[in-house]
Each structure stands twice: as C-alpha cells, then as structure tokens.
C-alpha cells in the first residue's frame, strides 16, 4: 500500500499541491485528473525516487528507507512515449525491465527470457520481439512500454497518459488490457489521463488536482463524476 499523509509536491520549493490523505491499494485502478501543467506527471515521477519525506510511505516504509533498485522492484512508471533508440529491439527493451533484479554480464537469464516471452504473449505482440522500437506504431509502442513494466513485476504501476497517441479503437483495447492486468495480477495502477470517455468503464476511483486550493481531491462516489460543474472545476472554463 502507498500511503500519503500531508504529502506536499514541490518544484524548486514551490508547492504544486498537497495530498492530505490518500491510499493506493492492490487490485485497484486510480484515475488522476487535472489540467495540463498542474503537476500530475511530476507527482507520478516523485514516487520513483527515494527522498527525505516521511509523508509518503510505501508498504509501511518511508521513502528515505528505500534503495533505488528495491523501489524499482515495487513501482514502475510508464510514459506516453518510448525511448527512441534506433537499434533497440522489442525483446531487448523488455529485458531491461529485469535490471532491478540484477542482470548477468553474459546475457539474460532463463527466468528473464521467460518473463519477456510471457509478457509478449499476454500483450499479443509475440511477432514483434525482433522489431526495433522505431519501427513500431504508436499503439504497439504503448503496449511495449507497458510490457516493460510488467516484466519488471511491480506491485504499483504508474501510467502517464497511456492513450495519448492512440486512435479510438486502440484506446478501447488498451483500457481493456489495463483492466485485465489489474484484475489478473492484483496490482495497483495509477493512471493520469485526459481520455475520460474511453476509460469511463474503469473509472471507480477518481481524484483530481484542485489548482486553486493546491490540493488533491478524491471523489467519494462514482456518481459525482462527470458533472458539468466538476469538469469546470478540474479543467476550468
């Protein structure tokens, strides 16, 4: 469980927003909404680096007690774009997800290769293993990005605008996949998105950044969303 108690997200000493009381638990998908530039992505990335704060605890341990590699075995962050490296194959990229567990100097272990093969199968992209990342479509890139996090075998998955570059059909497919992963692997997923329409089936736990009050607000019931009044409060006029 990730627990926030009066956690303050700051950039260069400037407060972006405060998370007064929030818990992220296994088997749930949490949607984080807010207007562009309010600090949603910064917030997700702040969960990846050990720091001095006591106001954020992961599995009962304060952030400063985590070693970066241990933390990488717990949490993975997936951005909306893959690294653009000319000569990285999908298979090699997915293998990098095993880095926090230690990598052999003499090639990947059998376990690592097996994890990658399983992930390729789960995502139905087994035929893409030998392709270079730069040869993939936007939809395939997003699947591969999520695949790397699955190979990492984390308990908390942070997805930053996963459907940003996808067409309608691929958006629907990806949300279905995210729901399936959460259910089957019993992991907690935090999603930052503006894609409210395609994701609506999964939206049970919704929070948004209140820019004026500089705080994260969690909606109590699904029925509170999306009302016209609330959308104006989140995104402005």
């Amino acid at each position: 469980m990730i627990e926030f108690r009066k956690y303050q997200l700051k950039i260069a000493q400037k407060l972006l927003f405060e998370v007064s009381d929030w818990k992220i638990e296994a088997g749930n998908i949490y949607f984080l909404l807010g207007k562009n530039g309010c600090g949603k992505s910064t917030f997700l990335r702040s969960l990846l680096q050990p720091n001095d704060t006591d106001t954020l605890r992961i599995d009962g341990k304060a952030m400063r007690q985590w070693h970066p590699k241990e933390l990488a075995q717990k949490i993975a962050y997936v951005s909306s774009k893959l690294p653009q490296n000319d000569y990285t194959t999908v298979f090699d990229f997915l293998l990098l997800g095993r880095y926090p567990y230690g990598m052999s100097l003499f090639g990947a272990s059998e376990t690592a290769r097996q994890r990658v093969a399983e992930t390729l199968e789960l995502l139905h992209i087994g035929d893409l293993g030998e392709r270079f990342l730069t040869q993939l479509s936007d939809g395939q890139q997003q699947l591969v990005a999520i695949g790397r996090a699955l190979v990492q075998e984390v308990e908390y998955l942070l997805l930053d605008e996963p459907t940003a570059f996808l067409d309608y059909l691929n958006k629907r497919k990806l949300w279905a996949l995210i729901g399936q992963i959460c259910k089957e692997r019993k992991i907690a997923i935090v999603v930052v998105t503006h894609d409210l329409e395609s994701a609506s089936d999964l939206m049970q736990n919704i929070s948004y950044v209140d820019v004026r009050q500089k705080k994260l607000v969690t909606l109590v019931t699904r029925e509170q969303f999306p009302t016209e009044e609330l959308l104006v409060e989140i995104y402005g006029e």
Binding site: R45, L48, Q49, H67, P68, K69, E70, L71, A72, A76, Y77, S79, P83, N85, D86, Y87, T88, T89, F91, D92, F93, L96, G97, Y99, P100, M103, L105, E130, F132, Q152
Partner: protein, 314 residues
Amino acid sequence: MHALRYRKWLILGGILFVLLLVFHFFSWETDFSFLHDDVLLYSIRLPRTLAAIFCGALLALSGLLLQILFSNILAGPSILGISSGASLGVALAVLLGIGAVGISTVAFLGAVGYSMVLLLISRYVKSTTSLLLAGIMLSSFTSAFIEILSVYAQETRLKFFTLWGMGSLQQVGGSALVIFSIVFLVVVAKVLWISRDLTVYAQGEDFAKNLGVPIFRLRWLIIIITSLAVAVCTAFCGPIAFIGIAIPNLVRLFFKTTNTILLAFGSMLFGATFLLLCDGLILALDEKLILPLNAMTALFGVPFIIWIIFKQVK
C-alpha cells in the same frame, strides 16, 4: 536470431584486425631481418604496433562512453574537446617545462577538468547542436591558452609540442606501454562492470533513474574512465582525432544493438583495427610521403562523420 546480426561483423573485424596487425608489425615490408635485431624489434616495431592497438581501442571506447553519457551520437573526445583539455595539460608540462609530474598525469588532470565543465554545461543545455557548439567553443577557449603558452615557450619545446600535436605512435616506449597496459586493463574492467548500467542508461537518463540506475555515480565513472583513457592516448600519441566519434557509430551501424558489452567490444576491435590501418599506411608510404597520424585519421574519419550527419538530417 539477432546474434547473427553482429556475429558476422565480429568475425570480419577479427580477420581484418589480425591481417592489419601482421602488416603493421612487418611495416608492410617483406624484409624480416629485423626479427633478429632486438633493439629494432622490442624498442621500435613491437611498441608501435601495441600502441596502435591500445590507443585505437581506448579512443573508440571513450567515444562510445561519451555518446552514451551525452545521449548524442556525434559526441566524441575530439569533437567535445576532451582531447583539448588533455592537450592543455601537456602544453603546460612541455611548454613551461613542468614535466616532472609526468605528462600523463597533467594530461589526465586537464581532461578531467575539461570533462567536468562540459558535464556541467550539459546539465543545462539539452539540445544536441548547442552542446556540440559549447564543446567547440570550449575547445577553442582551451586552444587559446595553448597558443598564449606557445608564444612564450622556448623554440625546442615549441617544436616538440608542434610535432606531438600532429599525432604519432613513434615515441611510445617501454614505460609508456606499461602505463598503456595498466590503463587499458583498468578501463576495460570498469566498463565491463558498469556495462549493464550503461545499457539501461543508453535508453535515456529518466528511464535509467526509474529503473534504479545510480546515475550520479555512473556519470562520474564515465568521466573518470574517459578522461583517463583520452589522457593516456593524448599524452603519448598526441591528440588523435575522429576515431572516438567515427568508430562507435560504425559499430552501431554494423551490430544494430544497444547492448553496451557488444558495442564496447566492437568499438575496441574496430578502433584498434582502424588505427593499425592508418598507421600502417603511414609506414607503407614513409619512403615517398611523410604523413602525420592525425591527417590520416581525419582523411578516413571526416567523410564518415559527414555521412552520419547527412543520415541524421534524412
């Protein structure tokens, strides 16, 4: 399956390396009488061939590391000016006559100091073009100091420094080879040790950070390793340009991988082969033409780099 992609290039590189090694050792001549002359064999032929191997391998490896560190395939010890930093150290030692501390030591200090300034700039300048421009500017700034030192230097020292600046493997003797061997072993062992971190880092700094790569330590290690390698090569063989930028790109193009161990091994193999070729041609033509080593590496390296730039624009 993808192993086949680089296996053929490794075999081809290996064959070329052995052939050019033999040609270089025998100076492209059919007269083998020097094999019975210990002075010629152990003081001239063997050190020069070994220097070509060490220097070519270390410069190419340094180029690869810098390209990963700066996330820029156009980075290299000469383009970014790290060789200039080492040159400034050598200039101070030679032109001011303070060589007592050892040319390789001052070259190392010059290279480390320069790399640190460049790394500091790279924290704020993310654009490839701007960073390369900053490297060229810094390099010119360093050259200005060298020119000022040259004005006040004694004639004999200036002549020595000018010849050194053209690059040559002739001056490498026994003690230099010992230093070369130690540095080579240390650098290769360290690169092997951090190769997994480098493979992840090659995908981007943020990506590596999120996977738990110790970024700060890694950056420092790369700076120290490359400074050490460039400093030793520059101190003993002069500022040899273009190997560091051209060879890692060539290897990347051949191997089509981002696996750092493979790229490092390939860069060393092809770097050594390339310098054996360049210096071998100097040996083969020495009765008709006097060719500086730097001119040879530039003649081969520059067209290739321009081709890479064209490829990037496309």
